[in-house]
Symmetry: C2
Subunit: 345 residues, 2 copies
DNA sequence: TTGAAAGCGCTAACAT
DNA sequence: ATGTTAGCGCTTTCAA
């Protein structure tokens, strides 16, 4: 099955009794061809089931109509949705996706990017939530010759291209909502070092202070890794033990939906009813926030849009040779569902 | 940023003061090169940051070290996990992935495959649970010149390559487990036309009959689309209304975890405790089965393995020019968790 | 050990 | 309107 010769433009030319360039012309329809010849060629193409070799085309055009994606984890539903958004834009604009998973490893991330570049992708969308990587990997150099767009990363370098969610604003909305409901003892559930958790912790500290609400030693809960299955169990356990303690909060603000679902489970185990006894608000709006019971009130990051816009931005840069330094900041949306209500007392 | 000339092997040759072929030789390390020359060339490569153009290489080699994936929905956690399995195999074997999403549309599926072929992928892994597509799309023709492996599809054509789960065996295990626990009124929750649901319904009918357990009009519940967020709500509603009725089952066997979680939610809403009052068993073992409360007992399809093995099979066919007609049937595994127990009465 | 030259499949200038 | 030719960046004979 392998030794098989894939039919080339030359085969078609022979079959049709014309030159290679004529065949090329009818394929691309970019130069005049007499209708008689055209028909002959088209018949030959059909007969031989000819399919132009994109590799050869790319070599000439110096354009592959391919973009690379690097995500830290394709099974992380956040990035799955981002990929879907990119896929959508790519299909409409006639690009194909080369997918890489760095598994959150900075070293592997560089390898992925190098591989994509050597495969001549027209550009790359990179999602990396880890601040240090973004700084360390010297993307400015790569950006000199390859179009790059970053998603939700550390956007300090103003000469790079970013599509970001306004996570501060989202966190603020969540907190204000909880506070507006009357909550005073609100706990923050976060994970290990990530740009995104840091932002939220900052907002949390500031907002609580502004409202003269106390933050104690127990107020900020770190559940470790924030993006694995264990995240849920860890959050569940911590919340459970808090609820068994003497001072009970009335609300939890979770840095992502996985943690929020964990909190939900912890409440259930402790016999605490959500939202009657306690309120929980999540962040992201991944699918599980919609299928939990009760459904999670959460801050929607619109990951599809994030991916979609980043791909569109990338393609714009590629095709219109647009300058670097672009930045889109997306607004989050508070999705009111069933996991929050005013505190009892 | 675009007009930039990517450095080529020619640039390196000039810089090092040698011929192009010599540079090629040191890159590929396949022909003798004097150490003096080698050093010169390596220095030039480093200096110019030369990265070989894979497109050019592929054109010569007629090999891209790229495989295509076609899934009916990347956001469907089942396929996300399959993709992850493929990704893993590909990284280890030095292949890169071109990802396509057919969105379950047979027409689009053909387009994706055509696109991948014209991009000269070395092979394609296709996941399509819809029986009709598999039959209609004339893959036998494509398989003549391109390596193809199918995942969990309709495996009637023995001349194609398949990696399958033994879903019958899985369904049987689930049912026998429930029956062994003492359940008699077991309901099946399934979705619209798909190879996979049909298999399970068959096993359900046979197994119930064998055990002389009645199947009534209400026994088989169709929740419509089986793979969207709505699946959960639909299943939840149906289960809720059943539980409000006069004849209550003691167990549900759901054709996938989404339906099982829906059933879980329906129970909760109806004030029915799982597994004390009712047992639920799922199928697949996607992430949500692990984070539900209680955790779902389910039949693990090991999607990672499914993807992994399919990629390995594909690469084997590609590299060793192995014959078509390969078939791997994976065993499922019953994952005992917390959603099943003996019936009360 | 090295260089020159042909060619992978295709496009695009240049002829005719 | 069509054919001829030169190359895209690289590998691989073939000579030297």
């Amino acid at each position: 099955m392998d030794g098989k010769h894939r039919t080339t433009i030359g085969d078609v030319a022979t079959e049709a009794g014309v030159s290679i360039s004529t065949v090329s012309r009818v394929i691309n329809d970019n130069y005049p061809v007499s209708s008689k010849t055209r028909v002959k060629v088209e018949k030959a193409i059909k007969k031989l089931k000819f399919n132009p070799n994109m590799v050869a085309r790319s070599l000439i055009a110096k354009k592959t109509n391919t973009i690379g994606i690097v995500v830290p984890g394709i099974t992380n539903m956040f990035f799955t949705m981002v990929v879907k958004g990119i896929e959508n834009a790519c299909r409409l604009r006639n690009y194909t996706i080369l997918l890489s998973d760095s598994e959150g490893d900075g070293h592997r991330e560089v390898e992925c990017v190098q591989n994509l570049i050597s495969r001549q992708v027209d550009g790359i969308v990179i999602a990396d939530p880890v601040t240090e990587n973004m700084i360390r990997l010297k993307y400015d150099e790569i950006a000199q010759h390859t179009a790059l767009v970053f998603i939700n990363g550390y956007a300090a370098d103003s000469n790079m291209n970013y599509v970001l969610n306004d996570e501060s604003e989202g966190a603020l909305k969540a907190l204000e909502y909880l506070i507006g409901l009357g909550h005073k003892d609100i706990r923050l559930i976060r994970g290990n070092r990530s740009y995104s958790y840091d932002i939220k912790e900052n907002v949390y500290r500031n907002t609580m202070a502004e409202h003269k609400l106390a933050i104690g030693k127990q107020s900020i809960i770190n559940v470790g890794d924030g993006n694995s299955v264990e995240t849920v169990d860890n959050a569940s356990k911590v919340v459970y033990s808090i609820l068994k303690g003497s001072v009970k909060p009335t609300a939890f603000f979770a840095c992502n939906d996985l943690m929020a679902v964990g909190a939900l489970n912890g409440c259930k185990k402790a016999g605490v009813v959500v939202p009657d006894d306690i309120s929980i608000i999540g962040f992201d709006g991944i699918m599980i926030s919609e299928i939990s019971e009760p459904k999670l009130t959460t801050v929607d990051q619109n990951m599809f849009e994030l991916g979609n816009r980043s791909a569109l931005m990338l393609i714009d840069i590629i095709e219109n040779n647009a300058a670097n330094g672009q930045k889109i900041v997306l607004k989050t949306r508070l999705k009111l569902r069933d996991s929050c209500s005013p505190p009892k007392c």
